[in-house]
Symmetry: D2
């Protein structure tokens, strides 16, 4: 089986502006994740950031990516509609997308979900326990009953998402909340995984079990089949069953809407 081409996209803002974050991720979250993924077999990893040409998400980059990891927080608004549309189309065409932590509030995640993607949150350095509720799922491979994070940001319910196609993880928080933090969807031909741990002030992406989940997710999200669907006009003579056209029409023989006389 060929290598999975993983691209890690990071807005790369906090690591340059906030010394506390820079201490944990001196080269950026993307480079920590890249080094982690490269320690696993079968992946070809590259990184890109918001300040790169075409916001780091050029058509050429996307076409040559099997699975995209996406981390953003402070700069969601800076991602242009054009970039989001290019990315959206590529996901529907089959590229896997792994949305991390505060990426829940990114334009691309909201566009794919169609919902608010809102949640409740609190920063208190509290304990999080990421429960594996689906041990048979490939994204949970090698993960035990739960992953314990000694310090984490609380993300809590209700989480404004469509019902996940598959639920893999649900988190418990010391402060009393729960959160559906490991969720799978398919949209078009693309597989999407949202994974909530990853607050920039804690070394969460240095945690081996978290790295393992992200690697598993990359394997799960790799493209599975062909491009899902395109609008298609079927001329009458191409109908699978022989039929005769009858009655008036709104479209010309090519399927284009006829102009009307007001």
């Amino acid at each position: 089986m060929s290598l999975i081409r993983v691209t890690i996209w990071n807005e790369f803002v906090h690591e340059r502006n906030n010394p506390a974050v820079a201490r944990i991720y001196p080269l950026g979250i993307h480079e920590t994740l890249a080094a982690a993924l490269r320690s696993f077999p079968g992946v070809d990893v590259c990184t890109t950031t918001l300040s790169d040409p075409e916001q780091g998400l050029s058509q050429d980059m996307l076409v040559n990516t099997d699975v995209l990891l996406y981390w953003g927080h402070a700069a969601h608004d800076d991602v242009t509609e054009q970039t989001v549309s290019r990315l959206h189309t590529r996901v529907l065409d089959g590229m896997g997308l792994i949305v991390l932590h505060s990426g829940h509030w990114s334009k691309i995640f909201k566009r794919l979900m169609g919902t608010s993607c809102a949640l409740r949150y609190r920063e208190a350095g509290e304990r999080e326990r990421v429960w594996n509720v689906n041990p048979g799922h490939p994204i949970a491979e090698g993960i035990g009953d739960y992953i314990e994070l000694p310090e984490s940001e609380m993300y809590g319910e209700p989480f404004g998402i469509p019902t996940p196609d598959e639920q893999v993880f649900v988190s418990w928080f010391q402060g009393g909340e729960v959160f559906r933090g490991g969720n799978c969807w398919t949209r078009g031909s693309g597989r999407i995984f949202y994974f909530s741990p990853g607050h920039e002030l804690y070394p969460i992406y240095h945690t081996p079990q978290i790295q393992r989940v992200i690697y598993n997710a990359a394997k799960w999200a790799r493209p599975q089949g062909r491009r899902a669907e395109v609008p298609l006009h079927v001329p009458v003579e191409n109908a699978p069953e022989k039929i005769q056209a009858r009655g008036p029409v709104m479209h010309d023989p090519s399927g284009k809407l006829l102009s009307e006389q007001p």
Copy 2:
């Protein structure tokens, strides 16, 4: 139980520009549907069109609507992003939405689905048989094994939608295609039903069984609970369990992202 406040929105273009359509729907598709729904108990029906103030979808109108029917085709592009956003928010807040026929390609449906919403199509006046695949579903109440439409436009698979939460109807076409044409989703607090029959050149909305489905859908889609979710910052002292804040923070005590020094 109080009356269901149904608003029927129609772009109302073909009926004014195309004599063949005008003969079938002289007052517009919306008025035919309104008259049909008024023949059922428990609904309070009004109509609105694209050329009305605020594109017929003002905040005041939306807040006073329990279920919106949506028919559009030629003028999808004319609906502004602002109108779509207003409508989108109201659906997530609980208003039911019934998207009819070519509304599959509307901005609001695409935004709620997050997918291409593409399909294949053909105009040949062919026979369609709308199979009831879910006789226990409230939207199928009073509908027999199938609804037969002697002349219809073909809409065929693959249909670029997320897996429906519930499948109620699947159509058979004389020319050899099939189509998932009666589909339910919930997004936020809002229920959404897509129903494919309704090509403007055939008197489909004059068909009693089609009217019955739409009435059933209006009953099913009425708001069920309260507004689904909003982003919410939880101060540490409001955590359900008593915890002590520790470590650095990215947000001020009100939950606003702190500015950083580049």
Copy 3:
């Protein structure tokens, strides 16, 4: 709208054998639940127990029930296959079923789910917080952010169920676990709700918010349409489209499998 005919079935074992349980539910869990439901409008409530004729689940009882509540624990094995089959058929035909607490391990729940229905558990009188993750759902109507139970039995993940059609509640436990404890499914024409709180040693069914959830669930689970499906042979002359039979057959004209010559 007509009254919802609710039947509350209880195995009624612990309340007769265990003084600690009897103090909380002197007349049985079923009578506490019945009194609670009768305080709400629109329901007609009766009770029945395992020691009643036909194990309290006669065909006559089932046919006259819209929604059945089911509480069992110690006597799951005593419910006969015949009783389970009668109950199963009635659910598929449209009767709503609300399975409470340890009913997760009942024969009827396992038969409807098709999975293990296993979970982890612990009795420590610990705090449970039942989070409302779906505020727009009718079963969450009138319920705030969460229901707090000062003393509860822990039920924890992984829970061996099919992905719920809709997730309404997820529980947090003081001892560190989470649990998907409020789950909706449709099977055939019947709606099923599993609700986990209800350990017999704590006065959980005396809690108004828990009573409200169960009432909401009864309204949600009432029969919606007609009987879902039956096997049906379609003679060639009854095909919706005119076709000619051709080739050999395995069935006689009535659809019965022909006997073969070994």
Copy 4:
């Protein structure tokens, strides 16, 4: 990646009793399928039938099978409850299961689905067109818009199944029906695919595109993770968070239900 160990189970009745079937499948459906699968890479295929020891489904056989294909029709009742339970447990533990054609009515499929699994049917040698409604799905890999079968048995809606997790194929029939004939579910750790084509009187399993779907399904259904869930008592001292037990208990320290005094 290691070979997928595929076992093909066939009741093997019609091929021995019915000369018309024997002409199409002289060695049995299982051997035709086995030869077809062996033409693809990465699979290790064996066959077994109802008349083999332990009904061809011994524990040893199951433990050494990654994906089981299941074809049955006339002898569903002959499969014992014990065999079904063994098979059921193995699916929940992670073995993939591909249920073919009249296997929709088998005990194992009914047990996994929890529903009636009923459908409508007709034998008329009519044309079936199996539409690919999910081109991005791995089971549709290499399949075009549809597979056309010149002669097939009609299986029609409503089909008494739970909503599929993923819909891959929907069939069109010449006689006017539609059918959800390619459906995916996950139950426990096991993946299940139902594929409807395969009437024994037509050479459907000799069709390359049908063989390809079954091969794709075997790849998709191979075990993904570990055993899904088992009931588990958690002693108080093993709770992830430190808690103190309080109040009365129903279970002894090992989690066994205490006997009660009537």
